[in-house]
Symmetry: D2
Subunit: 344 residues, 4 copies
């Protein structure tokens, strides 16, 4: 069945798989000390424009969030996130498992609003009892957000400024970063993101890898003995080559960006199909995830032909659903979607 269920429905991008195959027989040392990890780090440092960035490859997004947040926060600190942020809502309490509170802010289209952030921080420090409260130590945001939306350069800069003023780290979850960087509506390039954030990660799992997220510490702030802390959290991969080789491929010949552009192109065409069929968008998303509102009968009918994701109930008769594109989405998939919508 044609599937738009997520951006991780397929295996590895062929160029990634090829490199895994080519290097498969080489004997290599473990735990990330192999030359492919080194090569991948070099290429990423160049792409982000920071020759001294600290880079560490982790396996998945929830793991990356928990490892980064729990090793950068001080004991008395928590992390601010939008209420719809992945760490707030869909990581089964992984941050709390690591002993830290997620301080939830209301959101607008999945994004933290800088005014609300600043008010929160000002109120915290104005409160005479703030020593009894969790101290905000970091801002977490996802880009694209869980709703496919993007921060503008002005928005991210303003948040970074507030973080600077209140001495918070700024952490950007880039599980789908490729789709932000190649969106037609973004004004934020990778080096700008790297310059504004204290730490972020370049998602591989949802951008053509079998698994893997490249965490980038931009300011000499990778925790000392980070490898031990990663091991302590069960997050150190024995065959680190699996991550190194994949990111080496993703950052060779701009594959990471080519995947992003392809998915964006497919998403833009998909939006035209939805518009042609008169389907309302739940939110205006300029990236690879599209949220539309379906009448429930229509949804059930369509689900027989095409796979997509339930998002949330809109009302008793309608449902918000998500369609995602990725490296493996084809024009043929789109034609099949169009046809399925026509049939109804």
């Amino acid at each position: 069945m044609i599937s738009f269920e997520s951006d991780y429905i397929a295996g590895a991008h062929p160029e990634v798989l090829r490199k895994l195959t080519e290097t498969n027989l080489e004997p290599l040392p473990g735990y990330g000390s192999d030359p492919y990890c080194e090569s991948a780090k070099r290429k990423i440092r160049e792409a982000v424009g920071l020759p001294d960035a600290g880079i560490f490859f982790l396996i998945g997004g929830t793991q990356a969030n928990a490892v980064v947040i729990s090793t950068l926060l001080a004991d008395h600190e928590g992390v601010i996130a939008a209420k719809t942020g992945h760490i707030s809502s869909h990581e089964a309490g992984a941050i709390e498992y690591a002993g830290h509170k997620v301080l939830e802010l209301p959101q607008a289209e999945g994004k933290i609003v800088s005014e609300a952030l600043e008010k929160y921080l000002a109120d915290y420090y104005a409160d005479e009892n703030h020593e009894h409260m969790v101290c905000p130590g970091m801002v977490y945001l996802s880009h694209p957000t869980e709703y496919g939306t993007l921060y503008s350069r002005a928005e991210l800069s303003r948040i970074a400024e507030i973080c600077g003023k209140y001495r918070l780290s700024l952490f950007l979850d880039g599980a789908r970063l490729a789709y932000a960087l190649t969106s037609r509506e973004t004004d934020l390039a990778l080096p700008e993101i790297a310059a504004l954030c204290d730490v972020f990660y370049i998602g591989g799992t949802k951008v053509g890898a079998l698994c893997g997220e490249a965490v980038v510490f931009t300011k000499g702030n990778m925790p000392k003995h980070f490898l031990t802390s990663v091991k302590k959290r069960g997050a150190l991969l024995a065959k680190g080559r699996l991550l190194g080789v994949q990111f080496d491929a993703l950052f060779t010949d701009s594959l990471y960006f080519r995947i992003g552009r392809h998915a964006i192109e497919m998403a833009e065409k998909m939006k035209e199909i939805f518009r042609a069929h008169g389907l309302p968008f739940y939110i205006q998303s300029p990236t690879n995830q599209q949220f539309v509102v379906l009448e429930n009968g229509q949804m059930e009918h369509l689900a027989k032909k095409v796979a997509f994701s339930f998002w949330e109930k809109a009302n008793d008769a309608h449902t918000v659903v998500r369609f995602a594109t990725g490296w493996s989405t084809t024009e043929e998939d789109l034609r099949a979607l169009d046809a399925a919508l026509k049939e109804e």
Copy 2:
């Protein structure tokens, strides 16, 4: 200076102190195995109307919340609380330190609203991805709330019913329980609370003890090996007698209720004084904490004569402040407050 700063400004109620003094020289075994702990438990079981209730004495409120919640929740569960609940806002992340998320609900006058609770639970189970989310395993509420308000019998019953339907434990934080039980506006007696909740505690620290909270497990649900879990959390008192003797005193000759009634009487008279001076109440509280709105100049002036607590900014010119009564509040204190308000 006259102080209404909190209900824990003074030491122990004289009857509590007397009993500590009288028993001081007796050699007693440690860790809660002494006869005073046993006697106190017997008296509490009688007062709550549950001959088989499991009772354990802990030292303070945050500790009691963290110990109870983290030992009763399953690994994958979190605890629902009002956003203004003590565990959400003023315990420095103690629940998260124990590895569990506080699932925050909006509140009304400090209380959880049953409709919002039921919607939250229904939405959770309707979500196809709920296995990626923290499973609600308990409802935490405080009675009186952090704003001095009270649940009615109907409200608490409805919440208990919802908890039963979705198989959540119901946990009532009774740090100030005496002031709920003796409020002129309550329709909930101690045995009713005990019957409705799975676990609750009878606060001593804020009701005449030097320290101590009596946790009551109402349904044979005290975790096995609870003493070891308490010890593991650094919460087991070597001289357990300190807690046993105090609770034995508090539940002798209804002292716990006498303290409550006195504080309520003082609070009602204080309310009349505020009304007489035309001070607006921030919230209608039927218990020992009263929240009034002061103009900032007035607040600073008054603060020179009388101690009270900053609560939150009302607007640029006004502030919400709290006045609390307790066992040691006297008519003379109230006259001094009245006088101080007149002088302005």
Copy 3:
């Protein structure tokens, strides 16, 4: 350079890689709900002889240990392990990170001795203060051990019996299980291990997979909501197919056992080479890891030609080193080792 550094120096076994390649383009649902995970589980259930075994695929060994131990232990319990056990010594405190103590027993050739285990348990329960101590709730052992040694059927049965008597779970770390099952000196088959243990895992990372360990709960004892607990620990793989496909390949046409037998054959030949060169064995290992004692000069000389692992200092002049074989070890590698030893 020829490498005997570990059993995870190469990528995937060709049959594993082929299956990954063949299935790469199929759109599949995430998080382990794909048909390859199902197929792999069916095959494993058959291989272990337990049609109802609960099976969950995790990514690596430390992660598997931490997830299993922390979800099966009760709050007040710890896990017993040999002092040389992987969880005691080389996992950076991952079990403690999850809040549980590793109760270390002395070891003999890397193994727990049943007499010492029983004495430990008897002493614990005889101690009047044992409620102040960590309660032993599980026995962890590795098979093969960190020293390549094996438990006999009698030894494992005796340990299982003691666990039964004191109501402890028995957990077997099978990171290198293939090399135990195919050792010439073992009398323990896979179904026997499954019958004796409460939980164990079948290691993939060190037996031809890129990553992956198949955790087997043998007695209907997989924790409820285990997926949520796995997610909470950052251990849930989005593209669960990566694990399912690999284990499906490993349990097709007995590949897992063929890999084991090959590595054992290579190890036996390697032992003959060491014997021929008069090198003393540090320990008698019947599996794929061989520990020999080298004079330090000899060690440095050899290290220029052949990669191996430092293990520990034997004395000022000698060092214990480890040579491991695996699926990728060849007769040619062994000849090169022989030649390198001759040259000295």
Copy 4:
């Protein structure tokens, strides 16, 4: 019954209780911000000879150990302790609950041996895989030890030197510190201990207080925002006065030392009684805990007249038991013990 069961069988020393009574009615701010806490800190700073020492009052020993260790250790670090150390054996895994491993060293008479410590550290750093192991970040020792023994000045200095060399904090558990400082055999005064250790605590619970331990950070090393971290661990006492007033009393007119000297004098006389009755000592203890070996029949007989503590089985026919003296032990108690021994 006459009791030598522990040094916390009685309530507060009369001078402590008197001060609690005298100050009972004063309205005071909470959480340790009252003038008695300040006064007690001043007196302790003077007694330890460090005008800038950071001091924080906690409630009990296990709590103090867990709070101090978990806030001073870095994420990747663990704490070294003797296998018989309180944190290793009798705190129900409180350190592990806080996420850190206790690295157990063999002990001699309850003490860490500096040679073993240095070897452990040298081996750790020599191990090529030490990044996969828990990094030793602190040495914990108790003084007196759990066996009543004492470190000499030379021993403690040597351990401090090793800690300095390997950059570990040195933490001394002084739950019974008074009995070390006043032992006839010690050559370590309080200011010397303060100068050698990075952090230690002055135990109150076992030296005449109802509860309370005064943690002393000697080198400007109290963690920033320590109050929040304490609160997060449920260890912040609302009526902080309870601790401040008691320590103020303990450090007025040298009460802490008077209590120590009295208990030591009683212990020395008790030793003479044991010697006179020909009872073998399990260990030579120069402090208030005495360990003797009783024949089991004798033990049971004696237990009918005098309370003492079971320690461990010596062999099938004999048991090690503990007798402790404290502020409330009297000459009459000793005569009763003597008489009870004679009767047998």
